[in-house]
Subunit: 196 residues, 2 copies
DNA sequence: CTGAATGTATACCGATCTGTCTACTTGCTT
DNA sequence: AAGCAAGTAGACAGATCGGTATACATTCAG
């Protein structure tokens, strides 16, 4: 194992450890010492890679953004394009909520919604990073909505986003394992009404 | 001003001050000292009324639960029963999001969703208190859904809840002032399909 | 060979955290 | 009149916070 590999490994180790802790316990509730202990890394090493806790938070959000979008994109592309792809989103959510897909386990709600709950001001740096993530996911749905109804793709995708967010909140807050399927039921009817 | 009044006033003052701070900055981010400074109360007084910060949090959640449900109930009862009452929910949300109703200002997302984001474990005491609140609001919608379609009231109310939660998240995370109206549009179509 | 980069461990800094304590005041109730 | 409940201000305790400093080890590149 080369030094260059070690460099990256430590950095990534810190980010993925920080993510797991932030995601489970919340950002404010997790201290820097807890992160370095769990990562098995010296404090100096953390502050070598990141200027501050704020910088670590930003890196953690970027890490999850990548992980989540790559995962969802892959799940959608497993089915033929069109309405089916949009419904596949809810099947993906179902597996996420019920922790049936190792690639995205465990489930503690949406990390970005949770982060906005800790930084409620929309002007806050972290809040805005969450907005960017949500916007990118929305655009992903929009691309597939075009295949269903190009003229009304904006409206369709936006309405599906509402159902998606509602399902995530319901699954987490109410610990409802069927949330994704309920949302999928509504999405189906919605899709029908958009498929002229 | 009698002493007996003063007693209750101090307690309520602490709760409403704590709520404002917790709601705006998050629970973990707000310290006990910050609460007593803002409330203009001695630390001893806080610990006279509450055993711990945990107890203050519980009281804060109960306070908001009451405030919110009384507010929403009042908003719904301003219109004749039936489908209109269910749509009135989204008009109420619209005023909440855009801070047009003094009774429920300001808007920093849903305090209960935010709290669940800080206490992600559904077994956590505070998380469960949030579940209870959401269940009570759901039952409120259910009662009105009965007027629309008694046989399928469960399904209808559940789907409206999803739209409601989705709208709250969208309004907060994306700072989208129109979220409630988008959700209302979907709710309208949903209601039509349930009004045989 | 040497120096820069990256890593280790650990002590330390000042600030803040929740919660307790002392000492005193006020005012209602019995 | 006496006692109790509720209030004040503020010191204090012990832990933890984010972040820095010191001293040293390893490894790769010029």
């Amino acid at each position: 194992m080369s030094q260059a590999n070690n460099r990256l490994e430590k950095r990534d180790q810190l980010i993925s450890t920080a993510f797991s802790l932030f995601y489970r316990y919340g950002i404010h509730a997790v201290g820097i010492n807890q992160v370095i202990d769990a990562a098995g890394v010296a404090k100096r090493t953390l502050y070598h890679h990141f200027d501050s806790k704020e910088a670590l938070i930003a890196a953690t959000l970027a890490y999850r953004d990548q992980q989540f979008r790559i995962w969802l994109e892959a799940r959608i592309e497993q089915v033929p394009p069109g309405g089916g792809a949009l419904l596949a989103v809810f099947d993906a959510l179902d597996d996420w909520f019920n922790e049936r897909d190792e690639a995205i386990m465990p489930f503690h709600g949406c990390f970005f919604i949770n982060t906005c709950a800790e930084y409620t001001d929309p002007q806050n740096v972290h809040h805005q990073q969450c907005q960017t993530h949500k916007r990118l996911v929305h655009e992903m749905l929009l691309r597939h909505a075009y295949q269903v109804n190009a003229e009304r793709a904006d409206a369709l995708s936006q309405e599906l986003v509402f159902l998606k967010e509602g399902a995530i909140v319901q699954a987490h807050v109410m610990a409802d394992p069927q949330a994704a399927l309920v949302a999928k039921g509504v999405a189906k009817r919605l899709l029908q009404s958009y498929t002229t």
